[in-house]
Amino acid sequence: MTVLGGYLGAGKTSLLNHLLRHNAGRRLAVIVNDFGSINIDVALVESQEGDTFSLANGCICCTLGDDLAMTMTALLKRTAPPEQIIIEASGVADPVRIAHYGTMPGYRLDAIVVLADAETVRQRSQDRYIGATVHHQLLGAELIVMNKVDLVSPATCQAVRQWLGIVAPGARIVEAVCGAIPLALLLDLSLDRMAVTTDVVGDRLVDHRSSYETWSFAKDGSLDGARLRALVEQLPEGILRGKGILTLSDAPTTRTIFQLVGRRWSLKQGEPWDDALPSSQVVLIGLPGSIDAAAFEQALQ
């Protein structure tokens, strides 16, 4: 489960539409809990065998028997449950609180992504009514998508990025136009589909390869668990997302699944290898300059 947060007008809907357009047949369920976002292209969702669920108004954490929990458990009972769900949080919701729903049985929290409108976010953060809410949302983000950067000057962009770094020190920050960011940052994709490529946004071709770097590593057999942990703990700030299906020397007969979003990462036991040949594969995505392939490889050997 991925939580998509951010104040009204930050571009959650365009990001979702981008995601649905490039989703390529995965069974996604989008749960919308924001009445600002009624422009989700439902036809698009249907053609992709996904679902969009509009949720009730107001606070999903205050109602008795709230829709979100009910919808999420109902989804699990389907004959073909979605591979991943994206919850678009209400414009005033605390994304961290919504993320708690991702700890329900049958779910795993993938990422807390918060959008910030490069043009208005600083002003909103000063608003008498919702300033504190905006700050709180940013503070809870694992990944902040600074959206609409085409509408501000490079100097403003730089200033907003710096400001975000101060108000949300725990988050990784990426820039976007019309919410177009690589899918791999938002979803838990299979390793072979994580590579960052190009997107068409409106009538423009956006080459993500100039904004992101990908590092892939594969080897037969196992990795040393201690060395891997040491590497992950020392990854540079610019690393945004990582995934691996590994064999660790301390658990050679089962897969170990590595997940990294922003600063949060985990190693969890996966399926046994059984007859398959144990191997180790890792993919990391980062901002330009964050990937030192030689050093990473050396650390794992």
Binding site: F35, G36, I60, C62, T73, H100, T103, M104, P105
Partner: protein, 552 residues
């Protein structure tokens, strides 16, 4: 010609200021034909006299402009709350004031269930009154070690469960769901906080959920109203307005045996369109399902913030005593769009605004909407409005708004407000009814059933005494007169539901809806007001005695 019945009473308090008192009321075809003395009834020709109330006092049936019907569903299960309540069947249920009392009541309920597999569900638990002691699996295992036990807290966000239920649902040390409370050694203790955790006991929760939405819940809600003298109650936006739900409301409320009128506020909280214009259009279209007893399509509900006792209300500086502030439930821009859409569709909008910062946002927004789209007699109502100050009431008056005050808070949470939430000065002016009156704001009072029990007399008692559960007086200067308090639970509440031309006073032409009391509120001590026995109600001339004490 339709028959005329004249009811006589010791005293008829009409709440019609042109004719405050009478001793007889003539009813024809469910409506009030005449009010006065028995002699004055002669003008309308022959009539029969009904002396059932000759030793009783009649008031206009109480009108509750903010209640919720789900409480009827909870009454399918035993109540283990701190405060006394009257069950739908009229039984007086004593509050559970100790953990021992909770266990005793649950054991009795356990013995009443035939099927050993059936989960025992209970509700209303309020552990804040057990001086720090919690009610969890260790306690609930003393009720049963074989039957699943599920106790829903009064706050609505927390559930306590026993070990059997945790075992059935696979809750153990490995459970990772946020909100499953664990002890120092990592074992779950039997407390589930928040919906993700509560959904860990889904099968039992869903059982409760279906009870809350059943037609029996609506029937019980009607009986609760009757027992409290309430003849017009509202469902303020916490129930679905789907076609099936509306059919169910129609079947129940339009049944001649159902003892109350019900006004349903539109909200899309349980489904429906999300575009404001479509929401407003759907809300207005619901009017076609209305009847004399069931009202739809006249009012809508929007929530701005949370609750004061839950620390989720939006407060003006200096916020809560602990320095925090609450949560917004809707973005201000979105609120403005919804309000404008309902406003343009001709609805009266009831806006949940508990804290004074939420009240500010409400006033700012109503002002913008009125400038954009002037409309006479909109009656937009601030709901709860608990911390509104004099400057806000003055603005409310200028904007033509109404206020529905949560006066029962003084009794139920006043002590906590003094020491835990907002401190003495603001607690003293919570639900400032006298200020509302002074500044000329039209106001009513509500119970928010099930948050506090439904009933006009309790509200009136709270308004004239302002006494907390431990007997402290909060803000003596905000007390109002008994007459004003009675207005606020009759005709002034009817005004906010756009029904003051039909109900709210005992007056020629209105529905013959009466609260029948065993004593005159003006003749008893102010502190005894809440204890005046209610015989039952008359609805459109039909007698509905309260269960357990009335007679057909």
């Amino acid at each position: 010609m339709t028959e005329t019945t004249v009811f006589t009473a010791t005293k008829i308090i009409t709440m019609n200021d042109s004719q405050p008192e009478a001793s007889a009321v003539a009813v024809r075809g469910g409506r009030i034909l005449a009010v006065g003395s028995l002699d004055e009834m002669e003008a309308w020709g022959s009539f029969s006299i009904d002396n059932t109330f000759c030793d009783k006092v009649l008031l206009p049936g109480f009108v509750e402009a903010h209640s919720h019907s789900v409480v009827g569903g909870f009454w399918e299960y035993p109540y283990v709350g701190h405060f006394d309540r009257v069950a739908p069947d009229g039984r007086h249920i004593t509050g559970c004031r100790s953990i021992a009392a909770v266990i005793e009541r649950l054991r009795a309920a356990d013995a009443d269930l035939d099927d050993p597999e059936e989960p025992l569900i209970a509700w209303g638990l309020d552990p804040i009154y057990f001086s720090g002691e919690s009610v969890r699996a260790a306690t609930l295992d003393r009720v049963s070690t074989t039957r699943p036990v599920y106790v829903h807290h009064m706050s609505g966000h927390i559930v306590s469960v026993n070990t059997t239920l945790m075992r059935h649902e696979g809750i153990d040390a490995e459970s990772e769901t946020v909100g499953i409370v664990k002890d120092g050694s990592g074992q779950p203790v039997g407390e589930l906080q928040g919906m993700p955790a509560i959904m860990s006991v889904r099968s039992v929760f869903e059982r409760l959920w279906s009870s809350l939405n059943a037609s029996t819940a609506k029937w019980r809600f009607g009986h609760i109203a009757r027992n409290a003298g309430v003849t017009t109650a509202s469902e303020l936006g916490a129930a679905a307005v789907t076609p099936e739900a509306i059919r169910q409301w129609q079947l129940v409320v339009n049944d001649p045996a159902f003892p109350a009128r019900i006004v349903i506020a539109y909200s899309n909280r349980f489904g429906g369109p999300s575009d404001p214009a479509q929401m407003a259009a759907q809300a207005a279209r619901l009017a076609e399902h209305s009847s004399d007893k069931l009202r739809l399509g006249t009012i809508a509900k929007i929530w701005l913030d949370g609750s004061i006792q839950g620390f989720t209300a939006r407060l003006r500086w200096p916020y809560y005593l602990n320095g925090t502030n609450g949560l917004w439930y809707i973005a201000p821009e979105r609120f403005r769009e919804e309000l404008l859409a309902y406003h343009n569709a001709g609805l009266t909008v009831h806006v949940h605004a508990n804290g004074d910062e939420a009240t500010d946002l409400l006033l700012d927004t109503v002002e913008q909407v009125l400038l954009a789209s002037p409309r006479p007699d909109h009656r937009h109502t601030a709901q709860h409005n608990q911390l509104a100050s004099a400057d806000q009431f003055r603005r409310m008056a200028r904007l033509g708004m109404s206020a529905n005050m949560f006066i029962n808070h003084i009794y139920y949470w006043g002590d906590q407000h003094l020491t835990e939430t907002v401190g003495p000065e603001r607690a003293d002016r919570m639900n400032a009814l006298a200020t509302a009156k002074r500044t000329g704001v039209q106001f009513s009072m509500h119970s928010d059933e099930m948050v506090t029990p439904l009933g006009g007399l309790m509200l009136v008692w709270s308004a004239v005494n302002r006494v907390t559960a431990t007997g402290q007086v909060l803000g003596k200067q905000e007390r109002i007169s008994l007459h004003d308090a009675l207005r606020a639970v009759t005709v002034d509440a009817a005004y906010q539901l756009k029904m003051d031309h039909e109900v709210g006073t005992i007056e020629c032409g209105k529905w013959a809806d009466f609260a029948v009391l065993e004593a005159d509120p003006f003749a008893v001590d102010a502190m005894a007001l809440k204890d005046i026995p209610v015989w039952g109600v008359v609805l459109a001339g039909k007698l509905h005695p309260a269960d357990g004490r009335g007679r057909e």
